[in-house]
Symmetry: C2
Subunit: 114 residues, 2 copies
Amino acid sequence: MKSHMKNLFADIPQDLSGELFETLLQTSSFRIERIVSNGHCSPKGFWYDQDDNEWVILLRGRAVLRFENDDESITLKSGDYIHIDKHLRHRVEWTDPEEETIWLAIHYQAGNKK
Amino acid sequence: MKSHMKNLFADIPQDLSGELFETLLQTSSFRIERIVSNGHCSPKGFWYDQDDNEWVILLRGRAVLRFENDDESITLKSGDYIHIDKHLRHRVEWTDPEEETIWLAIHYQAGNKK
């Protein structure tokens, strides 16, 4: 089993000129993704408007999220998690330029029972 | 949205005489669970034999896992993740007694495409 173990904070490419999106597990009903940001943010005026629900946790670094239907931005630090309903328009206002920001996201279609 | 944000490393009860299992999100196809161990391990001779597949990541502390079909144990530190197929018999040999060990587990039935 040792060979099957990987680390979420390892194997980060030197060149992070673009954000890194990597699928860790794909099943018929959801997808687990690692996202590595390095000072990246959403382009001016851009809003994510996703077809899937997303449960996302920030595990390293810091980020500021903004939701279109909300006046306030929220700052996420390590361990903070949030549920983003599909088609809830949001953007990443800021990620820490001093270190990588590492996210773990679960994208899914199925109904949220809780 | 601020009120919907929670932290994986917060709200840990003082009394951890038993391991803590907490469902963070339940959908029709998977369940996200937080597990907090505090020096706990599986009882002697006990093997987990689960009906669901499990993708699990250790995010704080340390643990030693053992699989029945494997001679070697594996030590997990922060960020290490592993996939445990359903009915793959395994046990937790050890978790760090000096600090809480915090896991994030995703349990699911659906076929694993990757």
